[in-house]
Amino acid sequence: MNAPVVVRNLSKTFYDEGRGEVRAVDSISFECREGEVFGLLGANGAGKTTTLRMLSTILAPSSGTANILGHDVVTDPQGVRKNLGFYSSTTALYPRLTARETIDFFARINQYPADRVKERVEYLIQRFGLTKYADARVEKLSSGMKQKVSIARTVAHDPLIVIFDEPTVGLDVLNALEVQESISELRSEGKTIIFSTHIMSEAERLCDRIAIIHGGRILASDTLAGLRESTGQHYLEDIFVLYVKAGQETV
């Protein structure tokens, strides 16, 4: 079977009046296999967020293609978004909706079959332990609870592919762990997950395969074991630094 996510030579060029042309993403290619957690590991400004925003069709690519379950991000953005859940530290919730209303709204707006929406909402409330707070406005919830509502709304329409763009930024250790657990659970449910982070330990713990991204380019892409083997280093941090230094030399 074809890979659910196929990215080929994807580029994004910004024009900035001060700096001129900026290549935020420079011809990257990768594939995600079904049911795996694919990690994009890179420093701030490496191009992770831009790549994931192109996959979620918020940004249009300057060149190259990206295909999600057979839907092209440029020619069929609706088809892409229907099959995708997108979560990032900047995607906020409507403060005046309750948790239940939020999940319900996002299930409907993402075209989840109308007759099963109610059932789905109840399932997610249960699953994320929101029962007690389901009818409180989101603005009243603690940040940990908001986090859970956010993940619940991301998967409200039961998408096959879920993108997590630096989901743990700004969270305390316990909340971050909860998010990581949610991601593991989603994988065990069979979802394909693209996950970006700059935290080595997260990538080590969660990712089936890791792509090291720097300066808008993918420098290496393999399983953790594969990366260890080809670099002879044990710690991901060392592996990462090694690739980035080598990458800078070639540039």
């Binding site: 910004f14 024009y15 900035d16 009046e17 001060g18 700096r19 001129g20 042309e21 925003r53 979620s56 069709t57 918020i58 940004l59 249009a60 609706q78 978004r81 229907k82 995708l84 997108f86 990032s88 900047t90 995607t91 906020a92 919730l93 409507y94 403060p95 996002f106 707006i109 993402n110 075209q111 709304r153 329409h157």
Partner: protein, 661 residues
């Protein structure tokens, strides 16, 4: 910054509306008819009084002297008045006949007057619901009263001499428009403005937050990753704004109605608003796309703003500017059967007035409806497109240009500078009498504003002078081409305006008056050439083709640059009828600057053009009335000159170079 610009824009618009109103009212030649057995006597009275007024230089009679009216023969004056063939008619009946008429009437007929028995009666019959008719009626009444004062018979009677009552006459007026029609005309004039104001302020309650607020809270990004289309998002939001706007307008309307019922607001005497169902439905059919368009404007504003606060900042100017077209109904003689039907908001304004006056023009109402619907759709699409613009959708935490400063920031600020320069030019021209003379105003505008602002910008943003002003050498052949382009370009422009004039005629008188006002008499020729040709060419080229063009060229493509720099250049030439020609000249000069990469050829072209105009105008060469083959020849030479310049181009890089095609 915005308040500094908005007031002059408003004053300018108001001045334009007033000028146009005055101009239309005085420039019109009113047609009328005279009826009744004593028609000949009235004719000679009017003729004598006109001559007397024409010979009198008193300012008091200025209005009357400018009043132009011609008598025409019509079979049925009443019918001709109703279908606007004539603006009024004068009915003169003898004393005996007048005595026989009943003294009282039902309000629609002639008003009873203080008339002695046996005195002939002169009645001016008009329609108060039409500007032209109402205005002509006021003037002719003035004239007739004057005639009456001058009538020697009356003098004799006044002094106690026995006069023949047959020699006297009584003057009265009679409005054949019903109260309903007059009310319709009054309400029609302001209803659109009222609605625009209500819908704007009402819709703003919802619109400010609807996208801008979502950006601020970060929920927009969440929404954009869902399966809904951008157009679905904006359409849903548009409907929300429209609903809020309509509900608030309705509440305001009910409020207003209650005030009238409770007599808090007094209505004019004889107020009688008739609104049959058909009329109400037609109005509604226009007001719904009006509401949608206003909601779309508000939505776009919200989509463009990065935050709630920014949206609020844009609201006031957009609101003020949107009120201008809504005032179109106040202008006299503006019929929907004209280009106005294509101007959104203004067309609804004029259409509602015509509908309320009971003269709906079905075809043009359909055109109006379509124009409004298309405008709304266009604006919705623009808003949807804004949701795909990354710089607007994704909150950027810093603008690199802000801290880089210098040339990068200049590109972002150049338009604000020119807006401020425009505002200062306008405010000073209107408010400083010391600068009212030709020379002083020119020196102030050219040297203080253009050169002064250029120097400030160069210093402020630390710009490289050669680069910012395009001070570059060009190939010698370009100079030769420019020399040919000057007279041929001038004639080509003349030909273009002759053609345009055939479609949209500009009042000849106004053009003549402008020529008189603009070129002072008694000035030595060399000084005239200095002030009109040399000074503007140097200063304006530095400002527009130097600073403005270089500030904008990284952001726009050549065609867009020509249009925008040309129009901005035109707008600095305040008098309305100079905007179009100067904008055209500005576009050509921008094109030359882009092709040659230098301001010098443009300077020569500009100076040459102005000098040629001055020389041709002063010499009375009659270039405006040449045969078409001469214009065709001039056009060919001009095209050839431009082609030579193009072939020898050393172009300025523009957007396409910076961002790729």
């Amino acid at each position: 910054m915005i308040p500094a610009v908005i007031m002059p824009v408003m004053i300018y618009a108001q001045k334009f509306a007033n000028d146009r109103r005055e101009r239309t009212l005085t420039a019109t030649t009113y047609l009328y008819a005279v009826t009744g057995p004593l028609a000949d006597r009235v004719r000679s009275l009017i003729e004598n009084t006109r001559q007397a007024v024409a010979g009198n230089k008193d300012e008091e009679f200025d209005n009357l002297r400018q009043f132009k009216f011609d008598e025409i023969r019509v079979a049925n004056p009443r019918e001709s008045l109703d279908n606007n063939t004539i603006q009024f008619y004068v009915q003169a009946i003898s004393g005996e006949e007048a005595d026989k008429l009943p003294r009282t009437n039902d309000g629609s007929g002639p008003r009873p007057s203080k008339r002695l028995t046996g005195v002939p009666r002169v009645t001016v019959i008009y329609r108060a619901d039409r500007d032209g008719s109402d205005n002509a009626h006021n003037r002719v009444m003035e004239l007739l009263r004057l005639a009456r004062e001058k009538d020697s018979q009356l003098l004799l009677v006044d002094r106690g001499f026995p006069g023949s009552p047959k020699g006297l006459f009584a003057v009265q007026d009679s409005n054949i428009a019903t109260n309903g029609q007059v009310t319709g005309s009054l309400v029609g004039r302001f209803i659109t403005l009222f609605l625009v104001m209500m819908m704007f302020t009402g819709g703003a309650v919802a619109s400010m937050d609807i996208i801008a607020g979502e950006k601020e809270r970060g929920t927009l990004e969440t929404l954009l990753t869902t399966a809904v289309r951008r157009t679905e998002i904006v359409t849903a939001k548009l409907m929300a704004i429209t609903c809020v706007a309509l509900v608030i307008t309705l509440i305001q309307g009910v409020n207003f109605f209650l005030y009238i019922r409770l007599k808090v607001i007094a209505l004019p005497k004889d107020f009688d608003l008739q609104l049959p169902t058909g009329m109400a439905l037609t109005l509604l059919a226009l007001f719904i796309p009006l509401a949608a368009t206003i909601a779309a404007v508000l939505l776009m504003l919200s989509a463009y703003a990065k935050s709630y606060k920014e949206a609020q900042m844009y609201f006031f100017p957009v609101y003020m500017v949107s009120m201008i077209p809504a005032l179109a109904s106040v202008m006299p003689g503006l019929s929907l059967r004209s280009a106005i039907a294509l101007v959104p908001l203004a067309n609804v304004s004029v259409a509602s007035r015509e509908i309320l006056m009971g003269r709906p023009d079905t075809l043009m109402i359909i055109v109006t409806f379509l124009v409004m619907a298309l405008t709304a759709v266009f604006l919705i699409r623009m808003s949807a497109r804004m949701l795909a613009r990354e710089d607007l959708v994704i909150p950027s935490h810093s603008e690199p240009a802000e801290f880089l400063g210098g040339p990068a920031l200049f590109q972002k600020r150049v338009l604000r500078w020119f807006a401020l320069m425009w505002a200062v030019t306008f405010a000073v021209a209107a408010n400083v009498p010391q600068l009212a003379t030709f020379q002083r105003q020119l020196v102030f505008n050219e040297v203080v504003i253009m050169i002064g602002a250029t120097l400030l910008m160069l210093k402020f943003y630390n710009l490289d002078v050669t680069d910012a002003l395009s001070l570059r050498r060009v190939k010698p052949v370009v100079w030769l081409a420019i020399l040919f382009a000057i007279p041929s370009g001038y004639l080509t422009a003349l030909a273009i305006f002759r053609i345009v004039n055939k479609v949209i005629p500009a009042p000849q008188q106004l053009l003549e008056r402008f020529a008189e006002d603009f070129i002072p008499t008694g000035m030595p020729m060399w000084q005239l050439y200095l002030y009109i040709a040399v000074l503007p060419a140097i200063c304006e080229e530095i400002a527009f083709r130097g600073m403005l063009l270089n500030g904008l060229r990284r952001r726009l493509r050549p065609a867009a640059l020509m249009v925008s720099v040309g129009i901005i250049f035109g707008l600095f030439h305040m008098t309305l009828f100079r905007i179009a020609p100067t904008a055209l000249l500005g576009m050509i000069l921008t094109g030359i600057a882009l092709m040659t990469g230098s301001i010098f050829p443009g300077m020569l072209m500009h100076a040459g053009n102005n000098a040629f105009g001055l020389w041709a105008g002063g010499g009375g060469l009659g270039l405006e009335t040449l045969d078409w083959q001469y214009y065709a020849a001039a056009g060919s030479i001009f095209a050839l000159a431009l082609w030579i310049i193009y072939r020898n181009r050393t172009p300025l890089p523009t957007r396409s170079v910076y961002r790729g095609a």
